[in-house]
Amino acid sequence: LEHGAGGEVMQALIGEIILKNFRNRSAGSIGLDSLDDGSTVRLENFNSASELVLTTDSHVITPAFFPDTNIGRLAVSGTINDLTVMGAKPLALTCAVIVPEGFPIHEFEEIIKTMDETAAEVGVPIITGDTKTVEKTALDSIILNTAGLGITDSPVRDSGLKPGDRLLVTGTIGDHGISLMAHREGFDFETDLVSDSAPLWKLIEPVLKLRTPEGEPVVTAMKDPTRGGIANALNEMAAKAGAGILLEEDLIPYKPAVTAACEMLGLDPLEVANEGKAVIGVKAGFEEEVISILRQHPYGKDAALIGEVTAENKGEVILRNRFGGMRYVDMPAGDPIPRVC
């Protein structure tokens, strides 16, 4: 196994080893095979259309403390966001910790306090957990695992995009990845860029309630663009929906510091990780309304329309610049390899 393998390598690992060997992989309308942000659990003996949503995520990040927060916020937000982008109201979280001996106790406590504060933002209790310590040599920092339980009567799948849908993003792209790199590697980008890590339930909740005059949900698909950035999230959404995505370069919101850092490091901001953002597909004609709702919440103040879903170019994500030139946004595959001859 390669360390930190992303994109296609990880896809192969999941497909060829995990899915092949687990024989029972579904408990409701969305099972493991969907490889969505979480899966649903049918409530068999209740007369309800609602399903539970279950998700889990492990977090390793070096360093555990970074501007303006720490791994605790990342872990809680990540799980709340996985429930949120499934369209599920978070009900409860778990907290499992693996920590190397010698880890400073005050840092440990600060992480736990941060988890509590983050969960409190959306009113979710943390109701069970597990703590293990391992030898110093086995681990160099803390690992957090959080599972989350949510409930929904209309789960949002990441495969739900239909041609004509509009694509929105809830805020600026790349803040987390760039701020973390700047902090970790000691880059001085002369900015106060901080991680965007945040729990999004309160931001998204009002949008989920919107219905078209025909009574259909306005939101057609959602995903949180974490590792691999929106390049990864959108490619997955396009592939699963069997539709194309056309992005308008000028519409994608970036903080100037992110643009500057990417231009100086040669990185593609579309591939940089986010921890407090969602990409949302909405039915055409509702984008303005959704954006105005999102912008009322502090986490959504930079929400923007970034593109649309097309019937052609199935499974492909295309970025159009202001001159009309178009390029493919590839699924990130590890480190970028120079190609310009």
Binding site: M181, E185, G186, F187, D188, F189, E190, A260, A261, E263, M264, L265, G266, L267, N313, I318, F323, G324, G325, M326, R327, Y328, D330, A333, D335, P336, I337, P338, R339, V340, C341
Partner: protein
């Protein structure tokens, strides 16, 4: 007779020649050769045989004439025997050629019915490939199907003694395409010859026009008006990229460029390529036409319209640049021109003949005294390249920039026209269309598919989708050398030491290559040496901004304070400088490359010759131009090292650049040092090649890759090798740059070699 004797008006020519000598008999197409039987007086037959090679049609190439005397059978007249079914008589599509002298005279002859008619053609000239929709090559399968022949044209078309006999694009002002001038919104201004007169006036006044030709649109403006050229640059957002120009004849060309014999031959060929020529001392065109370069791309008129335009302004020189964004497909449709060229051109000179195949101008440069294709397209495509051995039906899909597609089968390789940069969505779609079209025209259904090793190239994905398990990935520089071998007709069991010098290509070891010595056969390669791998801080960003390469190459040897003093450029100033330094220290987004192009780029940046790359090859091209002005010889240190396991020789390019650094600011000019860097690379590369060839018993050494367009480097390597008793093989019929990659890939696929040794 064998050779290029089909689809080039050869049989009507034989017919007319036989008639002229009072001979009888027949001419018959037998697929792979043409059979002629003649009967008559001995002297007439002898004269016929003398005239045959001399008067042959311009595109015909006679490889061999076998003459045999047979029993007299008493033919009454000379006839063209129609081919038997099954013989692919109409499957050969000739390339487009310039209007011939006879047609040209007719359009300037007031008594001719072709007077001032720009679409005048005959068997010997005019558009061909660009008109073909499908096979067989008959008028109804071309874009001329939209123009039914009038009575007079019908007569000429069906008379074997007429120059227009069976020339598919035949037409006249009564029945053929029309030309007109419109404003930028499409509003009609003038028609027919009047449109050309008006267009000429506008060009003279400084307007910018689109002009529809054979295979696409040109954007034209007056090359003597600096204001017009600069305005065009502004509108295209192309600050520096050289524009090609067109002039009426050699006399005008010689007023601003020095063609030399080889250049003159290229320019005047019926294929009418753009030929890159040195500027003359009294260069009289706007400096902005090819800024910072010692040379300029020039072509002579090849369409009727162009001839009529220059007849109206005989001393004028016009920029004629293809109407596209860099690397994207050229505009071919009228509606598309109105839309895509909005805000770029003031007027459109349009016609209503559809362009079936987009075909950019071919670009040729004379390198080491020989013709080198920078782009092989109009006038050459779809003529096949002959292979030295038989292969199975296979495809090569190209790399990414300057892409082409190649289909091979038997002993023929069909290399497509220039496609462009397939990372752009439009160009990749065009790539796929060209593929379908080439399959249709050649009937070749590939069994195997060759593609690049680069995992992110769209062409790689294309081949994998089509070919599945039949897809063979071929290392980029090995594909260069394979193309070079076949281009030089090396037999199937040949071995060669291939030198591949270019920008970048994905290497067999996962790093980025581009200065390679590959011991090669048609069945595999071995990397026997290379240039020292250098860091590219920020990956492709280091291509766009060569100052980053300088920091990468020198950061291990100079202190931060010294590096800060270098005359480098970073768009984000001091902060970017520090960022790059940190990137290098912490190994963040750094790729290692043995590319030769990047070394030339770095030298151009360090010598303050070119800061940012605004078009492909700019820093290296400007370095070459600067080096032309050098007056003093400087020897830079050549340091060779050993690397890898097994250890192979490596040229230490950091030492070269450091040498430049140490000598700059002293008694040597930047031109002297530019020359010295090129010379150092040339000498270092030659020395490695010679020692590898001797050690490994190679008697052939060849050179491919985009750096081979550099005349100093190519001629220099050829000279050093010659001194050591080796002859340098260079490309002859295909491009040195990435246009040849599909050809190389198609050979691995055609030979069906699925091997670690080709990846």
């Amino acid at each position: 007779m064998t050779g290029t004797v089909q689809g080039v008006g050869f049989r009507p020519f034989i017919y007319r020649l036989a008639k002229a000598h009072g001979l009888s008999g027949y001419v018959k197409n037998l697929g792979n050769h043409v059979e002629v039987l003649i009967e008559g007086e001995r002297a007439d037959i002898q004269n016929f045989l003398i005239d045959l090679p001399e008067k042959k049609p311009p595109l015909a190439r006679i490889k061999e004439i076998k003459v045999k005397t047979i029993t007299f059978s008493g033919f009454q007249e000379f006839i063209i025997v129609h081919s038997e079914p099954g013989i692919f008589e109409n499957s050969i599509i000739p390339p487009d050629t310039a209007i011939c002298e006879e047609c040209r005279l007719e359009i300037f002859d007031p008594s001719s019915r072709y007077y001032h008619y720009p679409f005048t053609v005959c068997t010997n000239c005019g558009p061909r490939y660009t008109t073909v929709r499908t096979l067989p090559y008959d008028r109804e399968n071309t874009t001329m199907a939209d123009f039914p022949l009038c009575e007079q044209c019908e007569v000429e078309y069906t008379d074997p003694l007429n120059r227009r006999y069976h020339a598919q694009p035949v037409c006249c002002s009564k029945c053929g395409p029309e030309i007109w001038l419109s404003d930028s919104k499409g509003k009609l201004i003038a028609k027919n010859y009047g449109a050309i007169v008006k267009a000429s006036e506008l060009l003279e006044q400084g307007s910018i026009l689109s002009v529809k030709g054979f295979g696409g649109f040109h954007i034209a403006c007056n090359a003597r008006k600096d204001g017009s050229v600069k305005e065009l640059r502004r509108r295209l957002a192309r600050p520096e990229q050289p524009f090609a120009v067109m002039a009426k004849n050699m006399e005008v060309v010689e007023s601003f460029a020095e063609p030399g014999d080889a250049g003159r031959k290229c320019l005047m060929s019926v294929r009418r390529p753009i030929t890159v020529l040195p500027k003359s001392k009294n260069f009289s065109l706007a400096e902005s036409v090819s800024p910072g370069l010692h040379n300029i791309g020039v072509m002579l008129p090849y369409t009727g319209t162009q001839n009529l335009l220059f007849d109206l302004a005989p001393d004028s020189v016009y920029v004629m640049t293809s109407a596209n964004l860099p690397g994207r497909p050229m505009v071919v449709e009228n509606e598309e021109a109105l839309e895509k060229l909005r805000g770029i051109v003031d007027f459109h000179l349009l016609h209503n003949r559809v362009i079936a195949n987009r075909n950019d101008d071919t670009v040729i440069r004379v390198v080491n005294g020989q013709r080198a294709f920078i782009r092989r397209s109009r006038g050459f495509v779809p003529e096949p390249v002959e292979l030295p051995f038989e292969v199975e039906a296979a495809a090569g899909v190209g790399a990414e920039m300057n892409s082409t597609i190649t289909l091979v089968k038997g002993k023929l390789a069909y290399i497509s026209q220039y496609i462009g940069n397939t990372s752009h969505v439009e160009t990749f779609r065009y790539h796929n269309e060209v593929f379908e079209h080439l399959v249709r025209l050649t009937g070749i259904e590939p069994l195997n598919w060759g593609c690049d090793l680069h995992p992110s190239f769209n062409t790689t994905g294309f081949a994998m989708n089509r070919g599945g398990e039949k897809t063979l990935q071929v290392q980029h520089h090995y594909a260069h050398i394979l193309a070079l071998m076949a281009d030089n007709s090396l037999p199937v069991d040949s071995r060669i030491l291939g030198i591949a010098l270019d920008g970048v290509g994905y290497g067999g070891d996962g790093t980025v290559w581009g200065g390679e010595f590959l011991g090669s056969s048609y069945f595999g390669y071995e990397r026997l040496g290379h240039l020292l791998p250098q860091p590219m801080p920020g990956g492709d960003l280091a291509v766009k901004n060569p100052s980053r390469m300088v920091l990468g190459m020198l950061s291990g040897r100079l202190g931060e304070a010294e590096l800060e003093e270098l005359p480098l450029y970073f768009p984000r100033g001091k902060q970017e400088f520090s960022t790059v330094m940190q990137q290098l220290q912490k190994n963040i987004n750094i790729s290692m490359t043995s590319s030769t192009g990047r070394i030339l780029d770095a030298a151009a940046a360090l010598l303050d010759i070119c800061k940012m790359r605004t078009y492909e090859g700019e820093p290296a091209m400007k370095l070459e131009s600067a080096a032309k002005k050098s007056t003093q010889w400087v020897d830079l240190p050549l340091v060779f090292r050993k690397r890898g396991d097994p250890a192979v020789p490596v040229l230490d390019t950091t030492e070269l650049l450091l040498g430049v650094y140490e000598l700059s600011g002293g008694k040597y000019s930047s031109a002297d040092l530019a020359f010295a860097v090129e010379e150092g690379l040339t000498k270092g590369i030659s020395e490695i090649a010679i020692s590898l060839a001797r050690k490994n018993d190679f008697d052939r050494i060849g050179l491919s890759g985009g750096v081979a367009y550099n005349d100093h480097i190519s001629s220099g390597i050829a000279r050093y090798l010659k001194e050591a008793g080796f002859e340098l093989l260079m490309h002859r019929h295909v491009q040195c740059g990435d246009g040849c990659i599909s050809f190389g890939q198609s050979l691995v696929a055609g030979l069906g070699i699925d091997s670690e040794r080709t990846r």
